[in-house]
Subunit: 600 residues, 2 copies
């Protein structure tokens, strides 16, 4: 049976070293996140997920969700009770607006907790996780009446929330949406259509589910510019807040999936369901992106969260299982064999997992900080910079975070040898669960295109230039420190490759945009190396300073320096190869006609 | 529902371009493989697997195997009938020795067929696949009586064969084996112990199952030097060939696994079962390696086989599913959207799959040729070279072949977007099935250690030097051809990185063997790039010559040249990064103590 321990020591270090949480204490919201409060969230939240949610992870996978003939969906045993405790303890309200009953803390704090919740039980964490996107959209785009009616109970977790985008004929290409919204005399709309892959679309955890649904009003253009967003509650809500009649939305089936069995993935049939426009007609795409950007950061966190649990268990197994001898001679001659831990190739996999999970944790929390600063920073310049950086790196957090989560889970399974392939050991579930994160909320290929096609170019490349400048400055200033100079030099070189690749896109993209598309994925990976590399540089600098000052846990800080060196020596070398692949351009990739692929 | 078409055109091209099958027609065995016979194997064998085995692939995954209380195991619906047809058609006898009822054809031919069988149904293909390893061991190490008693029915497929190595406490480290073999008065041994993860260990496909079992005789040393190999039939075989009493080996349970559900993975309890020594006492490890080397080549082929089917279906979906528009403007303005095929990042995944499957197909068939030449070549020098090359590249075929198979299956699933995660579409099964091939018959990390720890150094590095020389000569001679010069130059550079990495190991391995262990995995990948690169160089040269001579299918040959260019531009750049990682050495990888990993 696997285990899970919240990595509180590492989270605290990152809040200190990368985020500088207390330095922001004067900003709105941050005042709520005193050191004592943050400690309580990490300790108590960590205990809650480890004791209540983690024990349900394997059983949730085994049982899955079941749908009855009336369309109702039952979650796995224990989920309902655990969800009630989650609501009671208020864990979903950490960074929700105080105006709607939230605790108003920075996203940095709720992100730290969310990582733990995902690590403990990804399928469970998706129920409140999907609500967050819906809440975010209503906070920005909902009318005061809609906000008053739905938000308090969504924030508390009493009601769930969903995002309804995908239809059988369209996933990425939302211009193809067919769901119709017919205006009614009372100002509402009658929503009719079929939505698929709706996570948490129907379940037994909450009294009501508030669906946010993309649909087209009559005469809307046949493209993504014709999309509007509607709020469609499962049960209509009376003016006094009580639940009214059942709305015309029913779960037609649930999907049999590779993983995340504990989460219900629903086909929802809307048959003249009553909905209300959220924001302006035909401005649904902008509203959708509010949900989507929140969801993408959450999905990136899933890569980290699942990877972390898989990694923890690989470490335990590597120190427990005895097989073979150290290459340098028996490490424990009194035993019949040494532990797997002595083998360099096992250690390589553990170090890769360590370097990526700790680096991604820093990047995810740093992204959450930008989310906070975008709204709370003191000056317009700072707010703009934070928004630019968050927009630029959201596809990287999602795309690279989830690719690495899958790779870490796969390698952790590999450490177990044959036992990793057997269900009861629990490792193969992490691989199956992690896999979906590379696909949903925009496949990782779509993330790569978002990065190179939209984010790089927007505002004349302002965000990328700012990011490059920050990395360059930090490398330059760190090169003087003997213990971090190796990483600073390697990162500076990787940044050079990234800048050269950017220039190559500029020089070759106009002539043939496929040159950009063909290099997009490599570019996203290259930016992943540089952004996570910057996190390692900050962590290494903080470790060096702590050691010099004799502050903190010396062994922990030394380990940060070793891992930073590993990142420089064993991970950053890929930067040059990625640049060369990008500079290969589109020719060889796009040359062949369909009939030259695969069997014939 | 997925589909599968045997890639006959590509197999034929490789037999011609890389293998030069007809040039070997004068060698023993090759005379049986006339062009007509080979065509018949590819066409009829391909039809058999596509029509009989492929339709059972998804149902086999859904149903799995079931064990009854008496220890008997039932395979999925249809497997038994299909297996009977397989035996009746003689598909398992292609390259088995004629002395035991086989057709005596080269391994090149049976390998081509085996790839197709794996592509159609990997779990099914493992039943006869495991027999091959057992047959190989008995052919070399069995006594004439044992050969006469068991081999004809194992070759025909009437009886199955298994390999029993793993025990609960030992997988890689066979020195830890506890199964006991007590000598009996009649010359037999009483075998007692527990074996786990025994593929095809018990099932309803054959009348008898011949287990080859590693065990220790009394007083044998407590290491892998104390291991002996025994043949233990499920039913004892009377002197007239009829089946006698049931032996004391029973299936205690079957594993619930991530994939290959159609194959029974058994825990076998040996309780004083009657067995007979195969070969000499305490020389079991050598006999085991005969089985193991055959199995490793077969597992490498599994990576290719599953990857091929996943890739074929991704191509079909990419040409069917419409989503978004080409970056260069609508490709089909009359449709509401273009096919996925227009998107460069989708095409990147298809090209990677094409480059690796076709390259690995060439490498696997070339490996099979070395297996043939090792025994059949005219001179001792040629036989030695073939044996050297096969030994050197067996871990590469297994390790890189299966890593790439998993990656191809994962990317093929990615092309499907959300539908790839849904079981009924069939793509997620390929990922789950492909995953095991990276683990069993020696994890890929063990393959990497076999390569750098044994194969590189054996006979003073003779095999590696021969391989490097061959690649260098082919690069040098190809650089003059304008249309393949790009690949030849890139491959020569990659070879330079490989040679430099080899030198680095020699210079740094003595001082600290962990420096070799820490770079082993990267080294295996680097050798994978160079060896598959050499296959692409040969295919490109053949294509160029064919085009110049106006022979063959011009579009197909042009596609080979484009894919060779893709391999040079988009895959070979990793060589430099791999070398730099190797040169990072062991320091950062081995520095941290256990308590500095994962949560604390």
């Amino acid at each position: 049976m696997p285990s899970y321990t919240p990595p509180i020591r590492d989270t605290r270090f990152i809040l200190d070293a990368v985020i500088g949480l207390q330095a922001h204490a004067n900003l709105p919201g941050f005042a709520n996140a005193t050191p004592d409060v943050v400690d309580a969230v990490l300790e108590e939240g960590g205990r809650f997920v480890a004791e209540v949610l983690f024990p349900l992870n394997q059983v949730g996978d085994q049982q899955g969700c079941t749908r009855a003939d009336d369309g109702s969906v039952t979650t796995p045993e224990g989920f309902k009770e655990a969800y009630a405790k989650f609501v009671e303890s208020g864990w979903g309200t950490l960074s929700a607006p105080e105006a709607f009953g939230g605790q108003g803390m920075p996203h940095v704090v709720s992100t730290a907790f969310q990582e733990y919740m995902i690590s403990a039980n990804m399928a469970f964490a998706m129920y409140p996780g999907l609500s967050h996107g819906a809440i975010a959209a209503l906070v920005v785009k909902g009318s005061p009446e809609q906000q008053a009616k739905y938000l308090p109970k969504m924030v508390s977790g009493e009601w769930g929330g969903t995002m309804n985008l995908t239809e059988p004929q369209c996933g990425t290409d939302l211009g193809l949406i067919r769901t119709k919204a017919e205006p009614q005399a009372d100002g509402s709309y009658a929503i009719t259509g079929t939505k698929i892959f709706i996570s948490a679309g129907e379940h037994d955890l909450t009294d009501n589910i508030i669906h946010l649904v993309l649909a087209k009003t009559p005469g809307a253009p046949d493209s993504s510019k014709g999309i509007s967003l509607f709020v469609v509650p499962k049960f209509l809500v009376n003016d006094d807040g009580s639940l009214g009649e059942r709305n015309g939305v029913v779960c037609g089936s649930i999907e049999h999936k590779m993983g995340i069995h504990g989460n219900s993935t629903c086909l929802l049939n809307y048959d003249g369901a009553t909905g209300w426009l959220v924001g302006e007609e035909m401005k649904g795409l902008a509203a959708m992106f509010i949900m989507m950007n929140a969801a993408r950061l959450g999905v990136g966190l899933q890569g980290l969260g699942v990877g972390e649990t898989a990694y923890q268990n690989a470490v335990i197994y590597a120190n427990d299982r005895r097989q073979g001898r150290a290459l340098t001679g028996a490490a424990e001659p009194g035993e019949k064999a040494d532990t797997l831990f002595v083998h360099p190739d096992v250690r390589r996999m553990l170090m890769e997992a360590k370097a990526w999970t700790e680096g991604l944790r820093a990047l995810c929390l740093w992204g959450a900080l930008q989310n906070d600063l975008e709204h709370a920073a003191a000056t317009e310049e700072e707010r703009q910079l934070a928004g630019d950086l968050l927009g630029l790196l959201t596809p990287v957090i999602k795309g690279v975070g989830t690719d690495k989560g899958y790779e870490i889970a796969t390698n952790a399974q590999q450490v177990y040898g044959g036992h990793g392939y057997i269900a009861e050991w629990g490792m193969e579930q992490y691989v199956r669960d992690a896999r979906i994160a590379m696909i949903y909320e925009g496949t990782n290929g779509v993330q790569a295109m978002d990065l190179v096609g939209r984010k790089l170019a927007s505002n004349g490349g302002r965000a990328a230039q700012a990011f490059f400048r920050i990395v360059a400055e930090e490398c330059a200033s760190a090169k003087g420190d003997e213990r971090v100079a190796g990483l600073a030099t390697a990162l500076e070189k990787a940044l050079g490759e990234l800048q050269a690749a950017t220039m190559w896109f500029m020089a070759n993209g106009m002539q043939n945009p496929n040159n950009v598309g063909a290099g997009a994925y490599s570019y996203m990976n290259l930016m992943g190396l540089v952004s996570v590399g910057m996190m390692w540089l900050r962590m290494a600098e903080a470790a060096r300073k702590g050691l010099a000052a004799g502050e903190g846990d010396a062994a922990f800080l030394e380990a940060k320096l070793v891992t930073a060196r590993f990142f420089a020596e064993r991970i950053l070398p890929d930067a040059g190869a990625l640049r060369r692949k990008i500079e290969g351009g589109a020719d060889a990739i796009m040359a062949l006609p369909p009939e030259m692929f695969a069997a014939a």
